[in-house]
Symmetry: C2
């Protein structure tokens, strides 16, 4: 009799568990194979159903496809991330729309006054950041759902990238993301993960 | 010939897409069927592989199982969320460990000095919040992977919950989460989602 593992308690099939989490890894190198706009649209069409506060959906994605756009990014990337950012087939700047509340009459129609509450709220920027970060979590899962490797990078000058790419003052850059198919020596060894006993407590 | 949809461009099978995103909804009512510790462990065993900065894994989960614990939470929950919080089979407080850096010598062993950089960094709390929020995104996907409905609630007094349940000053409450099987009239109608054209731009 084979042992029942925690994986057997999930409704999601084992292949999908592996694709999205267990076998998925942060890639450090990529092949030349492009990531198409159709793939990006397919990922977004999936993950846009993830929940956000007020259904506000503040995540905005800026794809840097041109060599000129990529060159504008590189000065803001930490030295340890520069080579992979230069060579990834696609780099995205993931940002929060801090004026997401302006869309709420359409996105949250049963309580349209939410726009006005948030308009005056000192916590609006923090709320934009929080929901956009949740959506980045969904997006990383979605990139993997597309069979692609994701390379999230927090090591960059976020204020500089915000100024460079979002001069309207309405957005805040949160994370850089390399997308592509894994190249040679793409993986570091798997780092240790905390156990459930270390993370979950019960009262 | 049937039309090719964006769903066909994904490696993840359609049933899994539906389970995690397309058919998944935020539940507002729940049946009495319990959510077991084994299910929570299965969810955590899956989502702990999601990436975080420095592999820091700052998310902490506090399950409120006892009636006494549930009663301590209710005063901090907004009036519109109180009934469902009182009736959900399981409620979790999702929090960030702002001292996550203390574990880095073990979790990020190839750069153990990261602990000391973060120890002195004014951005450490923000980094804890960011990575824990990413992990909440993975967790919401994981709850659905277990075949359960998730009810995330941002409408609560986060500072009050932090004081009440984390008096050590090392944690920050970020979100409340109801977990269970959907009950009668669990779903509001699906709210509109932004299109790819509204979210994704290319340079």
């Amino acid at each position: 009799m084979s042992a029942v593992t925690t994986a057997d308690l999930l409704a999601l099939d084992r292949a999908a568990q592996d694709l999205l989490f267990r076998a998925a890894r942060t890639a450090n190198t990529f092949t030349d194979e492009p990531v198409t706009d159709a793939q990006v649209a397919a990922i977004h069409d999936l993950i846009r159903y993830g929940p956000t506060a007020y259904n506000g959906q503040p995540l905005r994605v800026l794809l840097l496809r041109s060599a000129a756009a990529r060159a504008r990014l590189l000065p803001y990337v930490s030295s340890s991330n520069r080579a992979k950012t230069a060579s990834a087939p696609l780099v995205a700047v993931l940002a929060a729309d801090v004026d997401f509340h302006e869309r709420l009459p359409e996105l949250y129609p049963h309580r349209p006054q939410a726009r006005d509450w948030l308009s005056d709220s000192p916590s609006r920027v923090e709320q934009a950041r929080f929901s956009a970060t949740l959506q980045i979590g969904y997006l990383l899962v979605g990139v993997r759902a597309a069979g692609l490797a994701a390379g999230p990078m927090a090591g960059f000058d976020a204020a500089g990238v915000t100024r460079e790419f979002f001069p309207d003052g309405r957005h805040e850059a949160l994370l850089l993301l390399n997308l592509g198919h894994p190249g040679p020596d793409a993986w570091e060894r798997r780092l240790p993960r905390l156990s459930t006993e270390e993370v979950v407590r019960t009262l």
